[in-house]
């Protein structure tokens, strides 16, 4: 396959392919992080995760339009405002949903699956009614498009690097919140033993609401970032949901480290296979490998050690 190409050509491709893998890794982490928090910390299977992402994308689209009309000079930097707004909107909707729907179902985890699936259908139709059935095009500022010319033959997508930087930032913040802040301690206490956490004075309801809101808010940021690389339409959330669940389940539901490790292994397998085989075959082999590993190790890559 490589006989016809020069060494420098191959080197350049190898470097770009390496970046392609890392970008895919960042995308996977970003989309799975919100779900991992909700699934891992609360045991709620949020089937509407994709729709929370798309809400973020729509907020970005609206911000873009608004900024172009009201304050065009702000356009080059509007994306940062849009991401903050996306976090707030998706997070707020998440807290509302937790209050209205999820909190009544904590004792029936399988019912949350059904309820959030229904919610995802409702949200899809709501987007369709409000924003129209067609996809919307989100306009990006000039500096975020195109690629960075590292050498003559190596080009790295700028939006890919942007997603990578964003993923590192968000992951760091989430780890800080969950493992070093006092609120994070409360969350982990509630996860480990809800009754005892309540007994020592932690407001478990409030912790639940904010955790759910945080997960949804991060989904919103992810959706906002993905307007750079994907489509924004009423059902676009469905494009991400399968991969998202795959990453979270394969990593071990209750472990954030697991999510990152699994995102890394899936993305590297996928992008390497895609290069040597074809798109469809890469997907098939990746899925078969994951199924195989999960059969041997049903708890996923990483699991919390719990005395049973």
């Amino acid at each position: 396959m490589f006989g016809d190409y020069s060494i420098s050509d191959l080197g350049a491709i190898l470097a770009m392919q390496g970046f392609a893998g890392l970008i895919l890794f960042s995308v996977y982490v970003l989309m799975a992080l919100g779900l991992a928090i909700i699934f891992g910390q609360m045991g709620v299977i949020n089937m509407a995760h994709g729709e929370f992402m798309i809400l973020g994308a729509y907020v970005t689209w609206m911000t873009s339009n608004a900024v172009q009309h009201v304050a065009p000079w702000l356009f080059p930097g509007y994306f940062f405002i849009a991401m903050i707004l996306a976090f707030i909107t998706s997070g707020a909707l998440g807290m509302l949903v937790e209050w209205a729907l999820i909190r009544h179902l904590y004792k029936r985890p399988l019912d949350t699956l059904l309820a959030t699936w229904g919610l995802s259908l409702i949200l899809q139709q709501a987007y369709r009614s409000i924003f129209g059935a067609r996809e919307v095009g989100v306009e990006l500022p000039e500096w975020m498009m195109g690629s960075w010319q590292a050498t003559d033959s190596i080009q790295i997508p700028i939006n890919g690097m942007f997603v990578m930087a964003l993923t590192i930032l968000i992951t760091t913040v989430v780890f800080y919140i969950l493992f070093w802040s006092s609120w994070g301690k409360q969350v982990r206490a509630v996860v480990q033993n809800r009754v005892m956490a309540g007994a020592v004075g932690i407001n478990t309801e409030k912790v639940d609401r904010y955790t759910f809101g945080l997960g949804c808010g991060i989904a919103g940021i992810a959706g906002s970032a993905f307007t750079m690389i994907g489509s924004t339409g009423p059902t676009a959330g469905q494009l991400y949901i399968v991969d998202t669940f795959l990453v979270v389940v394969f990593g071990g539901a209750a472990s954030l480290f697991g999510t990152i490790a699994s995102a890394f292994s899936i993305s590297q397998t996928q992008s390497t296979l895609e290069f040597f085989l074809s798109g469809s075959m890469a997907k098939v082999i990746t899925l078969l490998t994951i199924v195989g590993i999960l059969m041997v190790r049903p708890q996923g890559l990483f699991a919390l050690k719990v005395r049973k």
């Binding site: 996809e135 095009g137 195109g146 339409g233």
Partner: protein
């Protein structure tokens, strides 16, 4: 109508009333009594279709909910516009068209069920509908069993022909071959990289493209052929492969949300479409709306219609469409093909002098529509359309600029020999 309020109104009087009503608009339209113009219902409808002295019912069957709503919305809009225009011009055989709209909900069994409802319960004289091949395959047995008439608007992979379907879009060879010949001749293209979403239409189309490239174009070769699951959003690996193999032409048949991801990532990876030739048959003006004109500017598309076409029919059609559906709407190839459906049906009914399905099916070949926005179309023996193939180049404002069109109409050939 008055059925519930006046149960005693028996048929002779009722009939007179209805005929009077039928005549009213016709009188105002033509300026003379229309009774002679409107043939008796019993003569034009011998099989019990929903045809009265004043009205004829047709069905519209598209997805307005679910994933396919993105694509099918334009078709619904075009069909409603055509029906409104036909009614304003006096209807079909003096009868106004009334439509019943059903939602296929992007679900193929639902399409079949709703098709049956439209044919059996509503007795629709014709149905404009379906978009994906999967939905058409689902309703085909229903239309054949209950003897209905379907006007199907989408360009598709061919390999089908039915007495009960008129295909107003292009079959694969009409869309592919002229475009490849053009790119080979004017761009001197020798190597092609074929891409597609992983389902029947892109696979069949690429098969035809490959056969044509390898057997009919001198010295040309395919350097790669690849498919991606529907809904794929990551294309960086294949873009690297394209960079490595440096094809003269990227031939892309990617659909849906993947489309947006593909073109955004292509641009981000530094592939400049003003230098790299890319030819697609799956991106109409509708799709560019979601992709963003700045991301796809410079790409070539092979279609039969572009919104920017410069002819008198299109100059009337585009403003009428925008007036009805909003200034911001765009009109893609399939939307135009959907607009042809009701008109072709009207012309066929008038040629046959009857609403009967068998007579329409027999009368269809040879029916010509001179008012088509794409120019002029004619129905072929095989129920597909003779139409021109055109190549357009995408501009940053989301419109195509016409670059090339075939001199003559291209013959539809749903079962192409040597391409299977």
């Amino acid at each position: 109508m008055s059925d519930e309020t006046k149960p005693g109104l028996k048929s002779p009087l009722r009939r007179k009333l209805l005929m009077g009503m039928a005549a009213l608009p016709a009188v105002s339209m033509l300026g003379r009594p229309a009774f002679a113009e409107v043939p008796a219902t019993s003569a034009v409808n011998t099989t019990g279709l929903a045809v009265t002295d004043s009205e004829v019912t047709v069905g519209i069957l598209h997805s307005v909910t679910g994933t396919m709503a993105i694509s099918e919305t334009g078709s619904v809009e075009a069909e409603k516009l055509a029906i409104e225009q036909i009614n304003a011009a006096g209807g079909v055989l003096g009868r106004k068209i009334k439509f019943i709209q059903e939602d296929g909900a992007s679900d193929w069994p639902t399409f079949a069920e709703k098709a049956k409802k439209l044919l059996v319960n509503d007795k629709c004289a014709a149905v404009m509908g379906c978009w994906t091949s999967a939905s058409r395959k689902a309703v085909l047995p229903v239309f054949e069993q209950y003897n209905g008439m379907l006007y199907y608007p989408t360009f598709y992979e061919g390999l089908e022909q039915s007495k009960n379907v008129i295909y107003t879009g292009q079959e694969a060879t009409q869309q592919i071959i002229a475009g490849l010949d053009w790119v080979n001749k004017t761009k001197g293209a020798k190597s092609f990289y074929l891409l597609g979403s992983d389902y029947i239409w892109p696979r069949t189309s690429n098969k035809i493209a490959r056969k044509h490239i390898e057997n009919h174009l001198q010295g040309c070769k395919v350097v790669g052929e690849e498919y991606f699951p529907l809904g794929s959003t990551q294309f960086n690996s294949v873009i690297n492969k394209i960079k490595l193999t440096k094809p003269d032409v990227i031939y892309a048949i990617i659909v849906g949300g993947s489309n947006v991801a593909f073109y955004k990532q292509l641009k981000a990876a530094g592939i400049d479409l003003s230098k790299q030739t890319l030819l697609t048959i799956s991106v109409t003006e509708d799709e560019i709306d979601g992709i963003g004109g700045e991301n796809i500017a410079g790409a070539y598309a092979c279609m039969k219609y572009f919104q920017s076409l410069d002819n008198p029919n299109n100059k009337a059609f585009v403003p009428a469409f925008k007036k009805m559906w909003g200034e911001k709407t765009v009109i893609g190839d399939v939307t135009q093909a959907a607009y042809l459906g009701p008109w072709l049906w009207k012309l066929t009914v008038e040629k046959a002098g009857s609403f009967d399905i068998d007579k329409i099916a027999a009368a269809s070949p040879g029916v010509e529509f001179k008012g088509a926005p794409e120019g002029y179309v004619r129905i072929h023996e095989n129920h597909h359309l003779w139409s021109k193939t055109r190549v357009g180049r995408a501009k940053a404002d989301g419109q195509y600029e016409l670059i090339y069109e075939t001199a003559d109409l291209v013959e539809p050939d749903p079962f192409p020999k040597g391409y299977q």
